[in-house]
């Protein structure tokens, strides 16, 4: 893959010698430059996928790159929900991609097409206004 780093720019000039910083992403060592965000350092390596949607498992990467959409959230040194586009890399930082979460609504109690979409529906179903009996009820 071609180097994605823009070393020389006709107006903005050369990147000169920005110091290398290494960190890990899902256990693999990556190298970025001082001043990189997690998102930019990973993209320079061609890595776009930062997490999967917590319920559907669909892959996600950066969308807004300026902190508004939270699509880029990752776990950094054990802290979850950190925006990769807003966080600069530090030497030795351990970054983990976002995974599918065991969802309380995802249990076998409901058929997929009857999954509640809101808390009110969820509570309603729990009270038993759904026709199908929960298997363990």
């Amino acid at each position: 893959m071609r180097n994605r780093r823009i070393e020389e720019h006709p107006v903005l000039g050369s990147l000169r010698n920005r110091k290398a910083v290494s960190f890990t992403f899902d256990g693999k060592t990556c190298e970025g430059r001082e001043g990189d965000t997690i998102a930019s350092a990973l993209l320079a390596h061609g890595i776009r996928q930062l997490r999967v949607h917590e319920e559907s498992g669909r892959p996600r990467g950066i969308y807004c790159n300026i902190g508004h959409c939270f699509e880029c959230r990752v776990t950094v040194d054990g802290k979850a929900g950190v925006r990769a586009c807003m966080t600069e890399i530090r030497e030795g930082m351990a970054v983990e991609s976002g995974k599918v979460l065991p969802s309380p609504l995802n249990s076998s109690v409901f058929e997929a097409d009857e999954m509640p979409r809101t808390y009110a529906e969820f509570a309603g179903k729990q009270k038993g206004d759904n026709k199908k009996e929960a298997p363990d009820a």
């Binding site: 071609r2 994605r4 780093r5 823009i6 070393e7 720019h9 006709p10 107006v11 903005l12 990147l15 001043g35 990189d36 965000t37 998102a39 930019s40 993209l43 320079a44 776009r48 996928q49 930062l50 949607h53 669909r58 892959p59 996600r60 990467g61 950066i62 969308y63 807004c64 790159n65 300026i66 902190g67 508004h68 586009c85 807003m86 966080t87 600069e88």
Partner: protein, 404 residues
Amino acid sequence: MRDVVIIGAGPAGLSAAIACREWDLSVLIIDEFPKPGGRLLGQLHQEPDGEWWNGIKEAGKLLNHATELGADIRCGVSAHHIEKADNGFKVHTDAGVFDAEQLLIATGAAESAAPIPGWTLPGVMSIGAAQVMTNVHRVRVGERGIVVGVNVLSAAIARELDLAGTELHSMVLPAKNPVTKHYGDPGEVMDGLARIAHMAPSRILRFGSILARAGWVRRLAVRLYPKRGVKVWGIPVHIRKAALKINGRDRVESVTVCNIDPAGKPIEGSERTIPVDFVCIAGGLYPLAELAAVAGCPFRYIEELGGHVPVHNERMETPIDGLYVAGNITGIESAKVAAAQGRLAGLSIVRHRAKDKAGLGQRIDEAMRHVTAIREQATIQFHPEVDKGRSKMENIFKEYRKAT
């Protein structure tokens, strides 16, 4: 307790800080982005005289000035709530609570989405994301891409991508759906192009721009729009093609594009699949004003200003005592206007503290005239009737004051 807390270290926030420090108020600026400068950092345009507007340099100048004067600037700090306290405000952030006697919210703008099927795939990003990645982080967003959405901002950023050696296949419209009904309408987009025609070395766009006021000419330009597109800085711009969907399994692999009629309706059988590894979506900008809302500031919806805007007067004061707004939170305009508004807000804050200081009233009048003058000279205008929006707001503020 500080005299002033400023949320947002963009051109508005930094300029306000400079004004406040000139009058010796204690100032803390917080910003959640790791670098100060706001959206100015990503900007790179050529002015009509050929000079480059280099946002990194411009931000550096403001930053140096503010730091020399002793403003306390903290980046990587995110504000999530504002409470009105007895004599000021409590600003809740992920780095603790900051007390301020006076508060300026200068949080800028956010991008509105133009969703098309497949837009959640990695490799699809907003046009602003590509700008920041390219000019601020200096990483290419991909090998070859397509821009979906044709407007002032996307045209400017397309050129920036090209400058940095990122290949763009073309710029097309989003397929029409309930969200993209305006962005996907060739006629409305032609109107928008008229506004950027001075940046585009192309006959048909000028033709469109000069005569765009006559509806029939505009319709003609839309009807006769060349099949191969119009090249703007070497990039084919199409207003008679639309992106139907983005394809790929784990990441963007291609975009399905089709021809559209002058009303934006897809022409059956014209679909084509274009292999790309990134897509930039350009909806538009709207004021990012949520913090003003939680602080209790009233709002009005003003289309010319980009959406919901906190009620404020031409001195950047809101109806809430001690709360000010400046920059794109008050309406979408260029960074120069934001900086001029920031200075004005700073002076209004100073006056609130030191009513007796000689000459302040005159300076505020000058700063107000400066905002208007900068607005008139703006090379980039996001809405053609921003003046109308501004005077609407002025009247709203007066009525609001009368009523309360």
